[in-house]
Point group: D3
Chain length 143, copies 6
Amino acid sequence: MSTVAPPPDPEADPRVKAVFDDIRATRKSDFINNMWLWLAFDPDLLERTWAEVKTVMAMPSPLDPLMKEMLYIAVSVTNGCGYCIHSHTAAAKVKGMTDAEHADLMRVISLAAKTNQLAMALQVPVDTVFDASGETKASERPA
Amino acid sequence: MSTVAPPPDPEADPRVKAVFDDIRATRKSDFINNMWLWLAFDPDLLERTWAEVKTVMAMPSPLDPLMKEMLYIAVSVTNGCGYCIHSHTAAAKVKGMTDAEHADLMRVISLAAKTNQLAMALQVPVDTVFDASGETKASERPA
Amino acid sequence: MSTVAPPPDPEADPRVKAVFDDIRATRKSDFINNMWLWLAFDPDLLERTWAEVKTVMAMPSPLDPLMKEMLYIAVSVTNGCGYCIHSHTAAAKVKGMTDAEHADLMRVISLAAKTNQLAMALQVPVDTVFDASGETKASERPA
Amino acid sequence: MSTVAPPPDPEADPRVKAVFDDIRATRKSDFINNMWLWLAFDPDLLERTWAEVKTVMAMPSPLDPLMKEMLYIAVSVTNGCGYCIHSHTAAAKVKGMTDAEHADLMRVISLAAKTNQLAMALQVPVDTVFDASGETKASERPA
Amino acid sequence: MSTVAPPPDPEADPRVKAVFDDIRATRKSDFINNMWLWLAFDPDLLERTWAEVKTVMAMPSPLDPLMKEMLYIAVSVTNGCGYCIHSHTAAAKVKGMTDAEHADLMRVISLAAKTNQLAMALQVPVDTVFDASGETKASERPA
Amino acid sequence: MSTVAPPPDPEADPRVKAVFDDIRATRKSDFINNMWLWLAFDPDLLERTWAEVKTVMAMPSPLDPLMKEMLYIAVSVTNGCGYCIHSHTAAAKVKGMTDAEHADLMRVISLAAKTNQLAMALQVPVDTVFDASGETKASERPA
């Protein structure tokens, strides 16, 4: 059940077809997942979103592709987005995430959720040494 | 401004002193950041929290220490925890995060926030091929 | 699957019947959606919630009814409330939201989610000119 | 720094004065906290909000007043609302919350944040026995 | 549909069996809910999570067991974790939560969500009297 | 206090200068707010973010500019992003938001937060008539 109807024949629209063709070429797979089918209700939204995802996930980067998927999972879990958790966990497995890495990801992100809750609850003031902006004078920093 | 007062002389309590000594030894630094000073209002809470953080962040792991800090940042940003964002960004820099890696982290987690919002808004149904639980029959999966 | 059982014959309770009658009269429709059926497990909670929704959504207002539904969608998507996203998207369509408006709503709220994530991650300090409270002296404001 | 200016002389408006008088009488204290000063920018919003808070927090209830404040803290911490965390923690202390209770509150709500994150990440399906709505057939329930 | 497959015969692993036996003994019930079946994909994660839940929920505490479950519900609802909302609402009912208490819980946590939203939107500055950390001078505090 | 240092002389970098010049031209103002100064730590991130904000907020759209700012506020408040709440509230005022509209925005988004919490807590099932995806058969829809 969803809030828009994906077009019955999305590739009848040449803009949609061009994006789908690029998804298939980029991923070397015929499979188009639902996110793109649904976004096809508005070709402009589909084009912009795919262009951005392709660029950010595939551009030369100091972060390797699996790490990016894990970061995506961390954000998606914290936001509670079921679709995103499923699709990026699947993508991380395709990129080689092992069960041991998956379990370790769980340990880190669940611990982060817990200590976030504690720091928030106590309203712990930020240590001035953590300031990177230059607003804190050098003399206040530890040797 | 915070919701509890850190003890005026926290290390007068031997349980607090033991934790602080372990923090200093583990990190090879005399610096105790505010999170631990504030948690010292309850020695049991301090002990349990430090034990867990130390174990999860330092145990032999398929994820390297910098990656763990970046995952911590991803969760903390999504939760909007200012203290946690500051402390784990500082920690990531200590562990070698470059400006280019920091910027790339921004690209990935801000894109994730955006596509999370889209998938949520459209209530896109999860593709059955993303199911890892065995509930989806093999015949429904792509070849 | 839910956490309370809606009453088997909700309108047997005169307080519930009065609310349901008012919902039908206000909306000029016989349809009672699940939110109200489920809230009927506690007539007081039902009465208060309906009274507030009716007042806020229908009172003379500088915001038009469609805009209010779009704001409701924006909050519901950000909170990740599936029921709310579905019901208010349906309501917005009843009030005339076109596909183009829907797509534009997606563009704005997904961009907002993204730049929120960036501002949070960098912990950008608030410009003093954005202060409306009078705490910032006039001399600090730009000409 | 805030997004609206509280009125310079809020009690010059008789509607605001009436609410402030009721706050003072209800709480047996002359202190008006900032939340109410700021809401006074719109007397209608002030009246409605105070009426609702007063009713819900003071009405005869199966939950005692301290428990209500702790629930308020739990929600506020999870939402990351600094003002709310401060004001309701202060209110809980006025209603008798001890340091031991405060620490235990921290244990429970931080554990909840952690296990929430795990259940989300694994997308654990809900057990049918947890269904209270009557949709699950009796035969599927455990003896 | 979920992101990991629970093991087909989880108790074949002696570490999993030991945890499941302890869950059954602690709860005096043969029922193992899905959370634990799914966590069994990694015995270490299962052991640590159960150990922590058992300790925090069962340790001698100033908060009674029902109150802890209600706090758990408050956090889970605010995080939007469906599994957690279902399992802890069911647990609260087992511990005696009545319909009247459930409805009152709804009143408090939905009001908290609302006033959180207002305090956030107005960016109300925190009153200095709410400061528990000792950073605010005594002279600034009310008599 | 923030997690990156804005460059001391940002416009020494021609890519940064080009973006800042475009911001000034687009807004017909010399003022560059902190968000852009901070993003200048990575020119690529600055360029992409500004290009997207400019396009989405300024493109011909069925939504008027003030409405877009209000939607931005709704998302920012729900995410708890202080910087974003401040900057978009200021922008909405520049685009003509009156105090009455501001107060009405507060009424709608705080009510949305409250009813989101209720729908989540009860786990109300989505009515099939709200389905826009075509998955629900026509016969299940009301006449």
